[in-house]
Amino acid sequence: MSGREPRTIGRRRGKVNGADQVTGRTRYADDFTFPGMLHAKLVRSPHAHARILKIDPSRALRLEGVHAVVTGRDMPVAYGILPWTQDEYPLALDKARFTGDAVACVAAVDEATAARAAALIDVTYQVLPHVLEPEEALAPGAPVVNEAARHGNVTKHVHLEFGDVDGGMERADATVEGDYYFHGTNHAAIEPHCAIGLWEPSGVLTVISSTQVPHYLHRELARVLQVPMDRVRVIQPPVGGAFGGKSEPFDLEFCVGKLAMMTGRPVKLLYTREEVFYSHRGRHPMAMHYRLGALKNGTLTACDAKTVLDGGAYASFGLVTAYYSGQLVPAPLAIPAYRFDSVRAYTNKPACGPKRGHGSVQPRFAFEVTLDKLAAKLGIDPIELRRRNLIRPGERTVNELLVQSTGFAECLDRVEAASGWRVKHGKLPYGRGVGVAGSSYISGTNYPIYPNEMPQSAVQLKVDRSGRVTVFSGVSEIGQGAESMLATVVCEELGTVPEAVRVVSGDTDLTPVDLGAYSSRVTMMAGNACLRAARELANRVRAVAAENWSCEPDRVVLAEGFAWPEDRPDERVPVAEAFRWAEAAQGTLGSVGHYNTPKNVHGDYRGGTIGASPAYSFTAHVAEVSVDPETGIVTVERIWVAHDAGRVLNPVIVEGQMEGSAYMGFAEAIFEEHVFYESGLHTGPSLLDYRIPTTLDTPELHSLIVEALDPEGPYGAKEAGEGPLHPSIPAIANAIHDAVGVRVDTLPFTPGKVLRALREASAAVAVSGGDG
């Protein structure tokens, strides 16, 4: 659109794949079947920690209909999403490290036979002492959960300090400190993980998977199964929800690949819902200690944080999580001094990983509640306190991350006005309250998970005389609207209509590499790649059309299905006609575009690249709650969500991300909790016991879009998929305090915890009343 008013972007419209979705035509991984397809089942450890002495598959193999069994010995190559912490095997090799760790896999003619065969695989275990809590795991003499740890049970220890923290605390007029606990939660995408392995006699292995990172899966399948990368194909059909829970390779993908190679037959493995909870990779539980100092006028002087992360049995993304738990805290504010110390411990539980708002949702809870306490102590309105400490566009955070745009001030203004904050905060009747919180999040991580100089996203475009534009992109459609985003960019640049655009995505054979749908990177990176490819092609079409019309190329308008010289709209032709002129003049039409991140936005210290992003989104929420002092039940009535997404390419999709994020944060605040028995067994791995909110539970969600355009984003766009989750939880916590005057610093906010806090508060009043 260079220089012109946008014609397609910013318009409210449905998604390009909408009709398929509402008619049941969208095919997810489990909707694919193939002639002769076998079904596989995993055998999982009943022990939280046990040496595997022997696996005897003979009884299973004798069962009619059973075709093959694989164990860890068949795939003895360590893998892990991060090259620095490859600490797991497709199937446990020597040791099972949590209750539910997969140790064997069987393929049979149907699912029921596979399930029966799985129970006939005899595994001899030597049970080992297990450790479930990080504090115990980090204590001297604790059983070693994962031998890949360099020291004891530490996956990663990060200690970073910026500015003079101790001096900042000393010069503060007020300091507040406290302990917080964020519990573990699961992504609970409605689609369980599914994978299908297909072996071609020519030597090509295809894996169809509900993954959100087909490229990383491609690499690991090749390495672990020892098939050259050029003979591995990963197909990622539309994914039925992911939220970070499908962002690394899993046992099932290796197993269907291996079993397909062994049997020559297609092999499908679909997790049961129970298995989704064992595979997990959900939110890390974090125990956090925060201390914050400020001057009388509200100017922050220092922040000091100490965090222990409960990692579960494997590293997953944990190295990054440990960094993110500190690195992503300072923005959206300017804090002159900051220190954090984060330790991730291995424990004998399902591995934690990235969940929407990776690593930063937990510290955001601790930080924003501490800020609220500080505001109360200073007698400053909590929104005003934030306003007095804003980071400005073009500034770097205290940990040196470059923030080129921020709409945080406007986010605060919007939620303040929309919620009626000034007439509500501190003024509602007892039992009713409002709370505010803010946050910031990355629009894509600045560096890939394995170091390389190649593009992080690339797009190929094909245009021909039919008028159809085909976009080939490695992006993963996981419901966030990746394909629609690409189509929108193409329409804006080439003047086509969405119906004339076909997006081919998520297939490593057909599309250029994209690193995947994680870290809110898709619009920033694939959007920019697509923009470049489309602009190049549009310029070529314009050049040819300009000759026909005897005008300057930049006077040729391509928009909404037509092409015309800017000053002569009556001469307009269908844009397909302009494509035909270009094809005749220039030959076959195609283009490529790629994106790589700027390399001057990170911090100049070890770890300073982690948390760096091309652009940051900003969010503010106000939550309004009712608290029943008799029952302790917290009802979240409404959440106002203001989010700075930069230029909004499609408001319908952005609002959907804002609402879905706010919902998911609310769910973690009030409903969801991953709980284990002392044996290490999950207490309720089902959607009945693990309570995710229904229509009746979910508060009213009000989306307020803010657009602070970022110079790095396509048209100025930034992320919207993860940022808006963060403030939900602390906003609710702060609203509970506004409603009934107590702090609940341990998630989730269950009736029991609220009642306990109320009782303790009234006991304290009674005691102090007695003294006075």
């Binding site: 008619t23 002769g36 009884r59 609402e659 009746l696």
Partner: protein
């Protein structure tokens, strides 16, 4: 396709004589699997099939008839992704035995559009952005259809109640409720009788 083997390997056909009626109980003494004949109407078509007794309606739709629009999210009746209409009433097909659908009229998401014309609910779901990943959408649409077919224009609370058995993990429900209200206001069309 569960149950169909590779004919080339001589293991084709349903694995008779292997599964018991006890589902997944391992190592149990396997008697011949009893097949029951089921007759029902699915999306207007009369269907007559021989199925094992433990076959669920969801499996019948997905595996026997290839109607994969109906989804399996939990296989325990918790999530609602498998919701279909049985004689006009929303039913969780993953915990309904196929045999219990004998003589009924089953409607799935594949029947919602009238030929190539989308149902107003489908149109509204697209326009409002009510489907993100889309996995809960078929079940959600069928629950909503049952509500709209009841005739009254529902209040927002009534829409919430009608959809409370369908879990969505993406949207926060806001746009789904908006879409159903919008479709209801525009008037449910005369039911397309199958």
């Amino acid at each position: 396709m569960a149950g169909s083997g590779d004919p080339a390997r001589g293991t084709g056909g349903p694995p008779r004589g292997k599964a018991s009626g006890n589902g997944h109980r391992a190592g149990s003494d396997e008697g011949p699997r009893e097949l029951a004949t089921v007759s029902l109407t699915v999306n207007g078509d009369r269907v007559r099939l021989a199925v094992p007794g433990e076959r669920t309606l969801l499996e019948l739709l997905r595996y026997e008839l290839g109607l994969t629009g109906t989804k399996q999210g939990c296989d325990k009746g918790d999530c609602g992704a498998c919701t279909v209409l049985v004689d006009g009433t929303p039913v969780l097909s993953c915990i309904t035995l196929a045999a219990d659908a004998e003589g009924t009229r089953v409607e799935t998401v594949e029947s919602l559009a009238a030929g190539t014309e989308l149902h107003p609910l489908q149109r509204a779901f697209i326009d409002h952005g009510a489907a993100q990943c889309g996995f809960c959408t078929p079940g959600m649409l069928m629950s909503a259809k049952a509500l709209l077919d009841s005739g009254e224009v529902p209040s927002r609370d009534e829409v919430k109640a009608a959809l409370s058995g369908n879990l969505c993990r993406c949207t926060g429900y806001t746009k789904i409720l908006d879409a159903v209200e919008d479709a209801a206001r525009k008037g449910a069309p005369a039911e397309r009788e199958s």
